[in-house]
């Protein structure tokens, strides 16, 4: 492994260069999927959806819809019988025989206008036999619950997911380390707690949109607002029996992803329909309501925790049982359950651990990736029981955390050795910035103030071997074009890739372009834009591609000048020799090469650098004990401290000050890192106070922004402090790790702990809405 610590850090690394996409986005010039024009042949798709959470499909009559003028295609589940799924293949593009959630696609229609497609839906008759629905994951895991996927045992699944056929449990991840039962007997204090985290939705500004077209030779192109063009190519092609090379995905800018545009959701629908109408582009856009209840959701979680420590505050044991409300399909969710399992201790060093992380089928919307991938939900529980345990044992919370957090060299609950981490530094810095231990007076007599702190860790959750690749090419004027397959979803991935390429090559930042939009036909492979993995994984590929190109240039110049490569360097777009003090611009030579003296021929040729990265060291974990050599690639850690003010007359919470510190190994672009920390905190705050999919008997009660509230600019605290901590990653580019998801992970617990400090009450889970806080205060006698 490259030891990042000993490497020279180029000037551009750690420099807050402006985003390279900012001008086109701010001016409105940036192209999104819905902006692309397809001409007069464009067809519009609409979908008839299940009105029931759980039912058998008895019959479908599409004859009247097919006869409607303007309708070009009507498709059902029978047309596409193969299953699809990222990890567990348990989903159909259109429901086949059975519907499992309200909003599941049943019939697809393509017509010459969206209005006609809508009218066609009204003409379709579907007869159902309604079945008992499972709307609670804890109940769903019991033997009494009706089985939602009777064929679970037949589904294709990777070897690190453990379904239990004959039940609704599609993954059961276990850790058995030490002896918790014996250890609890040694504990001076034990806290037991159950926390419920409701489903939330991603609510990107840009709803899902996808357009697909099959040409007469059977080749398919998909244009989509997508975090995962390569995964979509692979999964959709396989399911529809198309060669991956005959399936092309073009992915322009994304107007917000947060995980909901990863994997495959609605993108398969226009592709499936397009295969029935060769030559016609088919466009499918979701309404905001569909966005709310038909797409990937952040799964609900019921987490039951028991944690104990000795009289000195040393953690001795934890038992953690998690019931993940996976929804109607857990194709993606099974791996959230796994991530929740292997990270189930939170960033604490605990010798005895018993974990059961259960992914449970329910008749709720389908769970998928959501910024944090299970960690916000898990830490909502962990962060609160640790706070309570510190209270129980009578220890200052900061001291308690510092005593118990994981350190480099610790053996984690899975048996993996922890790498160096700056978590203790993060704790000290947030405690300092929030003035921990100092009570500030409230702004009015009817208000109370409090402070809370919570920690987090998160590893990129993915298969063991997700790959990244990149290429680097040049134009005649020396400017650099970098090919990547990772997506710019607002996080700044393109800027950081360009910055890394410029730094590794030795050219000015403004010489670098990113080849876009992403296009699987030309862009290099990237697994998915998820898991906060791009800066680290794609960054490595970009850095290597740039270094490869640099080496080719230096070799060429060394030959032309008859010098030693070791004496040459590239500085500000020029090759320089420290020995002969000659220099030559990259212009022209990167395409045409260099002429030999006296017109005796040429050296070199078009430079093209290539780089790849794939972690090769992640091992499997034992099915019964969760033990293995290395569960994950690494952990990004951090801490958050909040000061809140609670209004005793309404229950409303104001965050006075929010401090975040995270260890991302190396901040390639500090401004972008600060923005991730701010944005992540706000999203965390939003899910802590406002957000909740109100599901009643499987039906969402608030599928619109009128009643699904998210934090707006007016809800953001006036004071937000973000702190960078850098403990370099051994295999990260210049030591970098990702930090995209992490800043929202500790927020629910930090807020809950601060509210507890202010008014002495806790809820059984978020959201900490004014009403829920007030009613809890009323019940506890804090107010009358």
């Amino acid at each position: 492994m490259v030891m990042a610590q000993t490497e020279k850090i180029p000037d551009l690394i750690g420099k807050s260069v402006p985003r390279i996409d900012v001008r086109e986005k701010v001016t409105g010039a940036a192209i999104y999927a819905d902006d692309i024009q397809f001409g007069k042949k464009l067809l519009y798709a609409r979908v008839k959806r299940s009105p029931y959470p759980h039912a058998l499909i008895k019959s479908i009559d599409t004859s009247k819809a097919e006869a409607l003028p303007g309708v070009k295609a009507v498709v059902t589940g029978k047309d596409f019988p193969n299953r699809i799924g990222l990890y567990l293949k348990d989903k159909h593009i259109f429901a086949l025989n059975r519907v499992r959630f309200v909003g599941e696609p049943v019939v697809g229609v393509a017509a010459v206008s969206e209005e006609i497609a809508e009218q066609a839906l009204e003409l379709i008759d579907v007869e159902y036999e309604v079945l008992e629905a499972v709307t609670d994951a804890v109940y769903g895991a019991t033997p009494e619950a009706p089985i939602i996927h009777p064929k679970l045992g037949e589904y294709e699944v990777p070897n690190f997911i453990f379904p239990q056929p004959g039940t609704n449990i599609s993954n059961h991840f276990k850790i058995r380390k030490g002896d918790t039962e014996a250890a609890f007997k040694e504990c001076a204090a034990v806290v037991e707690k159950t926390i419920r985290v409701p489903h939330v939705q991603h609510v990107p500004i840009e709803p899902h949109v996808a357009i697909a077209q099959m040409d007469e030779t059977g080749k398919v192109t998909l244009w989509a607002s997508s975090q995962s063009p390569f995964a979509q190519r692979n999964l959709i092609a396989k399911t529809l029996g198309i060669s991956q090379s005959d399936m092309r995905v073009i992915a322009p800018y994304v107007g917000g992803g947060f995980g909901c545009k990863a994997g495959v959701t609605m993108e398969a629908i226009p592709v499936a329909i397009a295969t029935k109408v060769p030559g016609y582009p088919v466009k499918f856009r979701l309404t905001r309501e569909e966005e709310f209840y038909t797409n990937f959701v952040r799964q609900g979680l019921t987490i039951k925790l028991k944690v104990g420590c000795d009289a000195d505050g040393n953690l001795l044991a934890m038992e953690n049982t998690m019931y993940w409300d996976g929804g109607a399909s857990t194709e993606y969710g099974v791996n959230i359950t796994r991530a929740g399992g292997y990270s189930s201790t939170g960033p604490y060093d605990i010798p005895n651990v018993k974990t059961d992380s259960l992914c449970v089928y329910t008749n709720h919307p389908i769970g998928g990736a959501y910024r944090g991938f299970g960690m916000s939900e898990l830490h909502a529980g962990i962060g609160q029981v640790m706070d309570e345990l510190a209270n129980e044992i009578g220890m200052d919370k900061v001291e308690f955390h510092l005593k118990n957090v994981v350190q480099g060299g610790d053996t984690l609950a899975t048996g993996m050795k922890m790498h160096p981490t700056g978590l203790s530094k993060c704790i000290e810095k947030v405690a300092d910035a929030i003035e921990w231990g100092k009570k500030s007076p409230p702004s009015a007599p009817n208000k109370r103030r409090g402070k809370g702190i919570a920690l987090m860790w998160k590893a990129p959750a993915m298969p063991p071997n997700p790959g990244s690749s990149a290429w680097v090419e040049f134009a005649e004027d020396g400017t650099v074009v970098v090919g990547v397959g990772g997506q710019e979803i607002g996080q700044g991935a393109f800027t950081v890739a360009a910055q890394m390429a410029a730094a590794a090559l030795g050219v000015p930042m403004d010489w670098v372009r990113i080849a876009g939009p992403l296009d699987t036909q030309y862009s290099p492979y990237e697994w998915q834009t998820v898991a906060s993995r791009l800066t680290w994984s794609m960054g490595n590929a970009v850095k290597r591609a740039a270094e490869d190109a640099r080496q080719q240039i230096l070799d060429m110049v060394a030959e032309a000048w008859d010098e030693n490569v070791d004496d040459l360097d590239i500085v500000e777009g020029k090759v320089v020799s420290y020995k002969s003090e000659r220099d030559i611009s990259l212009k022209n030579i990167v395409i045409y090469g260099i002429p030999k003296e006296n017109d005796q021929g040429w050296i070199g040729g078009p430079i093209i650098g290539r780089g790849k990265f794939m972690p090769t060291y992640v091992t499997g974990l034992d099915k019964e004990t969760g033990q293995g050599q290395r569960a994950v690639v690494h952990y990004t850690t951090g801490a958050q401290a909040l000061e809140v003010e609670v209004d005793l007359e309404t229950g409303k919470i104001d965050v006075i000050n929010a401090v975040s510190a995270f260890d991302m190994g190396r901040a390639i672009n500090p401004d972008l890192v600060h923005m991730q920390m701010e944005g992540g905190f706000v999203q965390g705050l939003s899910s802590a106070i406002f957000e909740e999919m109100m599901l009643k008997d499987g039906y969402m009660q608030n599928p619109s922004f009128v009643d699904y509230r998210i934090a707006t600019t007016t809800d953001i605290p006036k004071k937000m402090t973000t702190i960078i901590v850098e403990e370099p990653q051994d295999d990260g580019p210049w030591g970098a790790r990702g930090v995209g998801e992490h800043p929202m992970v500790p927020t629910i617990a930090a807020l809950a702990n601060a509210v507890y400090d202010a008014v002495g009450v806790r809820l059984d889970g978020p959201p900490y809405s004014a009403e829920r806080v007030y009613m809890a205060m009323l019940k506890a006698g804090v107010v009358k």
Binding site: R46, R49, V102, G103, E114, E115, E118, R285, T287, E289, Y293, E649, T650, K652, I689, F690, M694, Y699, M700, Q701, N702, P703, S704, V706, D707, R709, I710, A711, T712, T713, T714, D715, S769, A770, E771, Y774, M775, L778
Partner: protein
């Protein structure tokens, strides 16, 4: 809340009459399938949600006088039906003489929506959550209506009958709302309890207007209107009486707040439970009356 609204608006015909008479005749002729149209902030949403099925949308916002806002030092303020809420909030006359109305208008939805939404539209929509309804009633507002039988005035105190139900009949077009001069030295306050700070509907809204009144035992008159806690904007008369009949003390205010809570009959919905709403009526009436009382004492 519709689970399956249409992607766009359902088809409708857009009618732009040249005069109030023409508009009124058309609306009367197409009773039940035509609707006068102002900013559209409710109309389009309801049509897309398939809650309203009008075939005709009758645009009356450009008819004569609809966009005028005028102040007469003797008679008061008249706001044309098509004057948007941002214009009301920015009016120097409204700011100087009717700050309560400005405060209420500024709490509606978001700035963007307030550049379309109107006070008269808010009134005609008759949502129990309407933020400007309380202020409009307490300030003695009168709606000018043009109907098939000619012009008439509708005092807002007797205008509302239920959610979306008012004295308006087919063929009626509200043309303006008029406010007489407020009582001397009046002080107002609108407290809107919402889930987050911008762009939200009221869980509970409390409007209070107080002024010196030699006819009462306390020497002051307090008027109180409540939003989102009854089918119509609720006037808390029992609370008003307590504040008129007893010297204004903390205990009197507490008793008035309790009376307001007892009078309210909210429902439970996604925004809040009935129980919480009632408690908030108590707490916020107390807060609003105390604020007003503090200002009245100078």
């Amino acid at each position: 809340m519709a689970l399956n609204p249409t992607p766009g608006l359902p088809p409708f015909e857009y009618i732009k009459p040249a005069s109030l008479a023409e508009a009124s005749a058309f609306l009367a002729e197409h009773a039940g399938e035509a609707r006068p149209f102002m900013g559209g902030t409710d109309t389009f949403v309801r049509m897309r949600d398939k809650a309203w099925h009008d075939k005709f949308v009758v645009d009356v916002k450009n008819l004569e006088g609809m966009r005028n806002i005028t102040f007469d030092p003797q008679n008061g303020l008249t706001i044309g039906a098509a004057v948007n809420m941002n214009q009301v909030a920015a009016s120097p006359f409204a700011q100087e003489h009717y700050p309560l109305l400005v405060e209420a208008a500024r709490s509606v939805a978001s700035y963007q929506l307030r550049s379309r939404a109107t006070i008269v539209g808010n009134i005609c929509n008759a949502s129990p959550a309407g933020d400007t309804l309380g202020a409009s009633i307490l300030l003695g507002g009168v709606l000018h209506v043009y109907g098939v039988d000619g012009e008439r005035d509708e005092p807002l105190s007797e205008f509302f009958h239920g959610p979306g139900k008012t004295n308006l009949k087919p063929g009626d077009i509200a043309t303006a709302v008029h406010f007489p001069l407020p009582p001397a030295d009046a002080v107002g306050r609108y407290i809107k309890l919402n889930r987050n700070n911008d762009g939200d509907l009221a869980i509970v809204g409390v409007t209070v207007l107080g002024y010196p009144d030699s006819a009462t035992a306390s020497g002051f008159r307090f008027k109180i209107a409540l939003a989102s806690v009854a089918p119509v904007p609720l006037i808390a008369t029992a609370a008003e009486d307590i504040l008129a009949n007893s010297p204004i003390t903390d205990d009197t205010i507490t008793a008035a707040a309790q009376a307001a809570m007892d009078a309210s009959t909210p429902i439970s919905d996604t925004r809040g439970s009935a129980e919480y709403r009632k408690l908030m009526v108590r707490n916020l009436v107390k807060r609003a009356v105390s604020d007003v009382w503090g200002k009245l004492q100078g």
